[in-house]
Amino acid sequence: MSIFITVAIIFLVLMIVYQIAQASEYAASLRSTEKERQKKTNIVMAASLVVFFILGCYAIWQCHFSLMDRMLPQSASKQGEAYDMMFKVTLIVTGIVFFITHVLLFWFAFKYKATDDRKASYFFAHNNKLELIWTTVPAIVMAVLVAIGLRNWMTVTSPAPADAKVIEIVGKQFNWIVRYPGADNVLGKRNFRDINDATNVLGMDDKDPASKDDIVAQNGEMHLVVGKPVKLIIGSRDVIHDVGLPHFRLKMDAVPGITTTLWFTPAITSTEMKKISKNPNFVYEISCDQMCGKGHYSMRGTIIVETQAEYDAWIAKQAAYFAPPAAPAADSAAIAAPAVAVK
């Protein structure tokens, strides 16, 4: 019932507003001629647009400085530094264009408003020289931006260095599973048909010797060594997910049936970043950036960037996924599955 009352009230209010507006329009038409009214409107509207522009510029300024301290801290990867530089260049270029075109738009609107004493000055409909200028200049600017962009793109998508540490990250509804290759630095084969949520979350091939020492973390926590390049092997068990690494300025889809990769070099440890960001709770987060169902928003992973020594200490405590029953996981970070009966 209350829904109808709400709708009825809204309707009534709108009707009253409309009647007032109509009445004011009729009253104005009695007071003055159409021409006079249009002239008055022109002046009011032209001025309002200028006021809008000035207040808008002020608001942009305010918005910028009130949000700056909520932005991401400096880039945590080497590749990200080039990214931030390129972002700045693009921002300056587009910012200049934005400002100039808007000044012209609102200034012209104000300056050339119709009043009694002026007419559209003259018949001026085209000018090839002008068209040529404003075709070429944007084209050149774009060429420069494309050049910077492609240079960075080539770096980001280049093959990972040979010494890069390989880590697999697999998305499923709605969490991330991380697999480390163990001492042999080789990930064992896996097959989606062997997946079993209780005993073999990734469908790893237990007959492949490379699988024997693979470590699986089901809590979506990834440990990386600062300064060491890492190559992510990205996969998905069910629908499309996306490994979003905002602090490293990177992102890559996780597509079922297709393996994608991404490599980068973490440059700042988690501990250092807590100081840089002045946030004691700071943590590198992996966000799922491709809509994957109702739990999409909760598909959170984390990354811990640490020194080689810290990493070594951590990895030593991890048990292989196919570990014998006698060696339970020592650290809660990696929830190794209980013993798997070798079929």
């Binding site: 209350s2 709108l14 409309y18 507006a21 109509q22 329009e25 409107t41 509207m45 647009l49 809008f52 808008g56 918005c63 909520r70 991401l72 990214y83 390129m86 587009t94 075109t101 808007h102 012209l104 012209f108 050339y112 119709a114 007419k119 559209a120 001026f124 002008l130 404003w134 075709t135 084209a139 494309v146 962009g149 492609l150 960075n152 793109w153 998508t157 509804q173 989606f192 048909r193 629908v239 499309i240 996306d242 979003g244 602090h247 990177l250 889809d253 597509v255 079922p256 049936g257 994608t260 987060e285 966000s287 950036d289 809509m291 994957c292 169902g293 109702k294 999409h296 928003y297 959170r300």
Partner: protein, 606 residues
């Protein structure tokens, strides 16, 4: 069919004499159904598209209010939502499953039903025959079918909102496997089937309309209306139709394959999937294939939405500046450029799908190339108002707002089109801000400008002006307040399509900003209701139009009677002698020369 045959039917067409009288007769006796419901009059069909579009816009906007309530106030409950959404918002708390359904429906409705059908359906139907001097479309019957296919598509989509498992919830892009597998989400069940059926019918509607628009523009221009004398609205609507005809079939093929994967066990998009506790038998498909097929329409679709607004803004800026459009030919060439490039940039939506980096580079180049014709258009609009004599009618306000928003939204496209920057910004709020400004609000501004400008032609009355100005400022200020700060959230990596950010250390610090945005959304929503009320009330209560040409415009639609019947002109269709932007002194104290005025001795055609 000839112009006369269209209006009088084939039999009457043989009887070509004295059609003037005959004409006036015929339309008084039309039955209510054939006049207003199953009408073949392009003007009535235009109104049908517009009113249906407005109703869908209200539904789509209301959905955004609901999910903005969730985003702005994730820890609060809103009992009012339960009234509207029932079990989906039990206790006033939106269900995550339904949050995604709302997001999906909001996108589908606004992109397809409002800004495609509601926008080009309205203005292509209204303006093409009126501005090129034709009595109706090439095939009025097909035109009627186009509306009714759209209507049925709408009914099916509407029904899907009420089924037990809820409507489709995989995003408006409905990427498989999420959309292909019932196990993946509730919305991927019956809701998705209805979505696909509805969209397939929508494609049919769009093609029937598009083919009609193209053939009408090419074949049915009145005497003297050469292609280069056509108003830019017609050029823009022409390329809109071309884009639709060439790209919608590809989307359709994508949907057919998806239907096969969903219902008939094929593996076009599915491979190596373990879901719902078991491994599926499908192997060998590619989920990315769907994205290629989808975006082959999806990107031209952006221009299907933008071009009509560009055309109308050009027309309205020129008319109300009392000055010819600057660089008419440059405007046409840039439209051609945008149309061609629109087909060559689709993969910029897919930079992070793992596609070949080399292919990515090509798409970066082509994408940033599209900035050139867009820049040309902006500079031409600015030069059009330069040294003009500007009348700030409500339509003019919205046209100026259109230019501002198009610049703002276009510039952020330069970030996203560059793959090296997209790799961080992809699927964040930066994207949300970008496309809402450039193809959402900006296209809406083009649409509002068109409605305020051509309302007198549609209904023989004016919309209320004070309300129109209030509507303009609420929308203009509101749009910037909503979407400008979202860029910052995007740069901070905040992903789109999240139900709640409070568990994320990196994104939860935008809580107050999200609340602010949601409050503005509610204000802007009620601002739009003001427009809707103004629109409907003015049909009966608006100030009456007393002159044939209230805006002092050069184009042909203003040579028809104030309330034109089916056939548009009483008597012969006027002949055209000059281009559509002859705004200058006509020697009798007027500042414009209608297209129908013969060239003066010694005067050269444009």
């Amino acid at each position: 069919m000839s112009n006369e045959a269209i209006v009088h039917g084939v039999h009457d067409a043989h009887d070509t004499h004295a059609h003037g009288d005959h004409h006036a007769h015929e339309h008084h006796e039309q039955h209510f159904f054939s006049k207003y419901i199953f009408s073949q009059d392009h003007k009535v069909i235009a109104k049908q598209f517009l009113i249906t579009g407005i109703i869908w816009a209200i539904i789509g906007a209301l959905m955004s209010v609901f999910f903005r309530l969730q985003l702005g106030f994730p820890d609060k409950t809103f009992p009012i939502m339960e009234k509207f959404l029932g079990e989906w918002a039990k206790g006033g708390k939106l269900d995550p499953e339904f949050y995604y359904a709302l997001v999906t429906m909001h996108g589908t409705i606004l992109v397809f039903f409002v800004l495609t059908a509601g926008l080009s359906g309205t203005f292509a139907n209204l303006l093409i025959p009126l501005q090129i001097g034709a009595r109706d479309m090439a095939s009025p019957f097909m035109n009627m079918l186009s509306y009714w296919f759209f209507f049925v598509a709408g009914v099916i989509m509407f029904v899907s909102l009420f089924i037990q498992t809820g409507p489709a919830s995989g995003g408006w892009t409905t990427y498989p496997p999420l959309s292909a597998l019932k196990e993946a989400s509730l919305g991927s069940g019956l809701g998705m089937d209805l979505w696909l059926v509805s969209m397939a019918l929508f494609v049919v509607s769009s093609l029937l309309g598009g083919l009609n628009y193209v053939s009408t523009i090419l074949n049915m221009r009145t005497k003297g209306m050469t292609m280069t004398r056509m108003p830019l609205t017609i050029w823009a609507l022409f390329f809109t139709a071309v884009l639709g005809i060439l790209s919608f079939p590809v989307l359709f093929s994508g949907f057919v394959l998806l239907i096969f994967d969903r219902s008939f066990g094929t593996s076009f998009y599915l491979s190596e999937i373990f879901i719902g506790g078991k491994a599926l038998p499908n192997v060998g498909g590619s989920a990315i294939l769907y994205q290629h097929l989808f975006w082959f329409l999806g990107h031209p679709e952006v221009y299907i939405i933008m071009l009509p607004g560009m055309g109308m803004a050009s027309e309205i800026l020129s008319t109300n500046s009392r000055k010819p459009i600057f660089g008419y030919f440059a405007m046409i060439i840039s439209l051609v450029g945008i149309t061609v490039l629109a087909f060559l940039v689709w993969a910029h939506h897919m930079f992070v799908t793992g596609m070949s980096p080399f292919l990515g580079s090509i798409f970066v180049l082509l994408t940033l190339l599209i900035a050139v014709p867009s820049a040309v258009k902006v500079f031409n609009w600015l030069t059009t108002i330069w040294r003009g004599n500007l009348r700030f009618t409500p339509a003019m306000m919205f046209a100026l707002g259109f230019v501002s928003l198009f610049i703002s939204g276009g510039l952020t496209g330069i970030f996203l089109g560059n793959s090296a920057l997209d790799i961080h910004l992809h699927d964040t709020y930066f994207v949300v801000a970008h496309f809402h400004i450039v193809m959402g609000v900006s296209a809406f501004f083009g649409m509002f400008a068109g409605i305020y400008h051509w309302y007198p032609k549609m209904f023989g009355r004016f919309m209320n002006k004070p309300l129109a100005y209030i509507h303009f400022f609420i929308t203009f200020i509101g749009a910037y307040l909503i979407f400008w700060p979202m860029h910052y959230e995007g740069v901070a990596g905040m992903p789109r399509r999240y139900y709640d950010y409070s568990a994320w250390e990196s994104f939860k610090n935008f809580g107050t900003l999200n609340s602010f945005i949601s409050v503005v959304v509610i204000v802007v929503f009620f601002g739009q209701l003001l427009f809707v009320f103004n629109f409907f009330a003015s049909i009966w209560k608006g100030r009456k139009v007393t002159t044939m040409n209230p805006w002092g415009s050069t184009t042909l639609e203003w040579t028809t009677p104030i309330n034109p019947g089916h056939g548009n002109w009483e008597g012969d269709i006027p002949e055209v002698h000059r281009w559509s932007y002859d705004y200058r002194d006509d020697g009798h104290g007027n500042d414009f020369i209608p297209q129908t005025t013969p060239l003066r001795p010694g005067e050269e055609s444009h």
